[in-house]
């Protein structure tokens, strides 16, 4: 029997809203006890002691939107390299997208991801299955069989299903199995060829651009289709105030939808693109400062349920291009927590609330056990100092790809240790890269 006692911790349990000094005891892969009074009188004699030194101890993060290159583009990222980045970022569960080659639209491929992850990855990995075959937006994927094989939800990743009739049927069919559908909101016609957000800055740079309406139109459409079908639906990412207003209005009408935002859209706006920095070309595009502020507000108010990294590793040759030709996407697993903590540091939300958007909230949406501190829960944990400042160095990232938006950025909030099932998978003191 292996026992680890975490002492002198700032316990953060977003599910109960608790933020207090205390201790936590792990036996094998589970939490067996925790609380403000634990080990107040005497230290445990038979356990390995981890002194948290007053740092935060929280449930490990669940990142609902991670793209990897496995299978098919292993030069960009494997499940193994992504999991090392995840561990360094305090992420203990990665939900991986089906946008691989081949596409995860076959039960055997769901099985492949699960077995491959079990054999190579240091954190938990759960795959989403494709909503349509080959992500082509034409024929529904085998939602029932994929679900049996272990697909946690269904999505076409960074593609929108343009055909409203097909989207309606997919939602209706998915609801037969109680399956969660995750939508990408970007009208493919309105945003065709667009490299950034439409507005004065795009006009000055002379870049092809798409309006925020390209997103909001799909958010509105999908909400109507959810009303029609009663499916479980989550919008992967919103990025502008208009979309937030539409989501808030739908929630007020009692429609059970949820939505996410990427840490990039909380921490950056379109002006950060500066002189055509292609590493800041992401999907959806970075928006105006007013929209960024609206996203922060949406997280603080709870209208936006989860924060994701939208980790999307790209090789240097597809990023070192002119802005129009460069690939979309930025890595984000290792910057998710510090970028999200900006909201806490600005005093717009409590630490427990911000952490909740990356733990309890995604766990609830996905139906996962993880994401909370509880007796008998899996010991997926992160120890981080929410205030410690550091400067991000892209060269020290653990991801195979280094296409971060944040090279040289000053952050507050540093991950020190990450545990998955009671096993330490990251320790900043022993980390040769960090």
């Amino acid at each position: 029997m292996m026992r680890t006692a975490f002492l002198n911790a700032r316990l953060i349990d977003p599910a109960s809203g608790l933020d207090a000094r205390g201790a936590l005891l792990v036996e094998n892969e589970k939490i067996v006890d925790w609380g403000p009074r634990l080990f107040n009188d005497a230290d445990p004699s038979d356990a390995e002691i981890v002194d948290c030194g007053g740092r935060a101890l929280a449930p490990g993060l669940i990142d609902m939107r991670v793209f990897t290159g496995e299978p098919g583009s292993e030069h960009r990222e494997t499940l193994e390299s992504a999991s090392r980045a995840a561990a360094a970022g305090g992420v203990t569960t990665m939900i991986v997208m089906p946008n691989t080659d081949p596409v995860i639209d076959e039960p055997s491929l769901v099985d492949f991801i699960k077995r491959r992850a079990a054999a190579t990855a240091s954190v938990r990995v759960a795959p989403m299955g494709a909503l349509t075959r080959g992500l082509q937006g034409q024929v529904m994927a085998e939602i029932g069989l994929l679900m049996e094989a272990g697909a946690i939800a269904f999505t076409d990743g960074d593609r929108t299903i343009a055909n409203a009739r097909l989207m309606r049927r997919a939602l209706a069919y998915a609801s037969t199995f109680g399956a969660l559908v995750v939508g990408h909101a970007e009208d493919p016609d309105l945003s065709q060829g667009a490299a950034m957000n439409e507005g004065e800055f795009a006009t000055r740079l002379g870049l092809p651009a798409a309006p925020t309406a390209a997103e909001t139109i799909i958010v509105e459409r999908d909400i109507r289709l959810v009303e029609l079908t009663g499916a479980r639906f989550h919008i992967a990412q919103i990025s502008c105030r208009d979309s937030l207003d539409v989501v808030a209005a739908a929630k007020a009408r009692g429609i059970p939808i949820t939505c996410g935002v990427s840490a990039h859209h909380l921490a950056l706006n379109e002006l950060d693109i500066g002189s055509y920095r292609s590493f800041l070309k992401v999907k959806p595009p970075l928006r105006s400062e007013a929209d960024r502020a609206a996203m922060v507000e949406g997280v603080a108010s709870g209208q936006i349920d989860v924060i994701v990294s939208s980790h999307d590793p790209q090789a240097a040759d597809t990023k070192r291009q002119t802005f129009a030709q460069a690939a979309f996407g930025a890595v984000g697993l290792e910057t998710l927590l510090p970028a999200a903590l900006g909201i806490y540091h600005c005093g717009q939300a409590t630490l427990a609330h911000v952490v909740g958007t990356m733990t309890a909230a995604p766990a609830d949406i996905l139906g996962l056990e993880a994401g909370r501190l509880a007796k008998g829960a899996l010991a997926d944990l992160v120890i981080f100092d929410p205030d410690e400042p550091f400067v991000l160095d892209a060269a020290k990232l653990h991801s195979r790809a280094r296409n971060t938006c944040f090279d040289g950025r000053r952050f507050q909030g540093r991950v020190h240790m990450t545990y998955v099932g009671g096993r330490r998978v990251f320790d900043s003191a022993a980390d040769t890269d960090g």
């Binding site: 439409e198 507005g199 004065e200 795009a202 006009t203 000055r204 740079l205 002379g206 870049l207 092809p208 651009a209 309006p211 002189s275 055509y276 040759d317 070192r320 291009q321 002119t322 802005f323 129009a324 030709q325």
Partner: protein, 322 residues
Amino acid sequence: MQTRGDGPILLTRHLLGIESLSVGEIEGLLDLARDYAVLNRAVAKKQALLRGRTLINLFFEASTRTQSSFELAGKRLGADVLNMSVRTSSVSKGETLIDTATTLNAMRPDILVVRHQDSGAAELLARKLDCCVVNAGDGSHEHPTQALLDALTIRRRRGSLEGLIVAICGDILHSRVARSNIGLLTKLGARVRVVAPRTLLPPDVDRLGVEVFTDMNEGLDGADIVMMLRLQLERMTGAFVPSTREYFRFYGLDRAKLRRAKPGALVMHPGPMNRGVEIDSVIADDIEVSVIQEQVEMGVAIRMAVLDALARGLPQEGANAP
């Protein structure tokens, strides 16, 4: 040389756009070009200013007049000129632009003139190369030498740009000429109007300091200069405007519309023209109003001035010998 001294004119190593230039830099270039325009009409046009220097014309997009204009400018100043036309479609890109840049860098050019179909390409090259980079047009972003030659042409005819009303008409959305001209003309005190159907106006274009018109008659009212832009027929028809005949009816420059402008107003066009689409042949060929040929002539003078100004910042012989 017999023109203005050889003190610095540009504060930067590159000419990437009008946006980053000061009024002083622009006027320095225009003054220098005015002298080169005189020189270009002399019998002996050749100078030795750039002797031993290498100029590479790197054109990813087809161009007749800009490329030959830079070539002639380089040769008249005594440089060795290499023309490279690279045909790449965005789909069949093998080598990245940065790979191309690194390869060229190894050939040790002194000045690289680049045209590319993507906005920001010149800036990307400037960051990766050791030599001076001149932007000869990048996507829908900037075409600084075109704006400079337009300003030089106007200045020769009108003395100054201060207070002039300039109407830029046509495809503003995709036009780098429009963006560079808006920047330059407003810096030099002109009042700039843009005239186009809504589909060819960039969002928030009024934030660039221009007046926006969708009615060409109103837009030309009292204008001193009418600057026509080329309609890119291959991409436009059916997508941005329904047909060329409808476009010509509402946005083509003919006598009737030109009558709204000030008497003696000048007509300009960066070329190549679509006669009968954005401009009536009668206007284009009317030497009383059209300065289109003079624009081409000033183009060579401006490019000589730009090369001269950039060469002043290059390392001199013996200064940094290996």
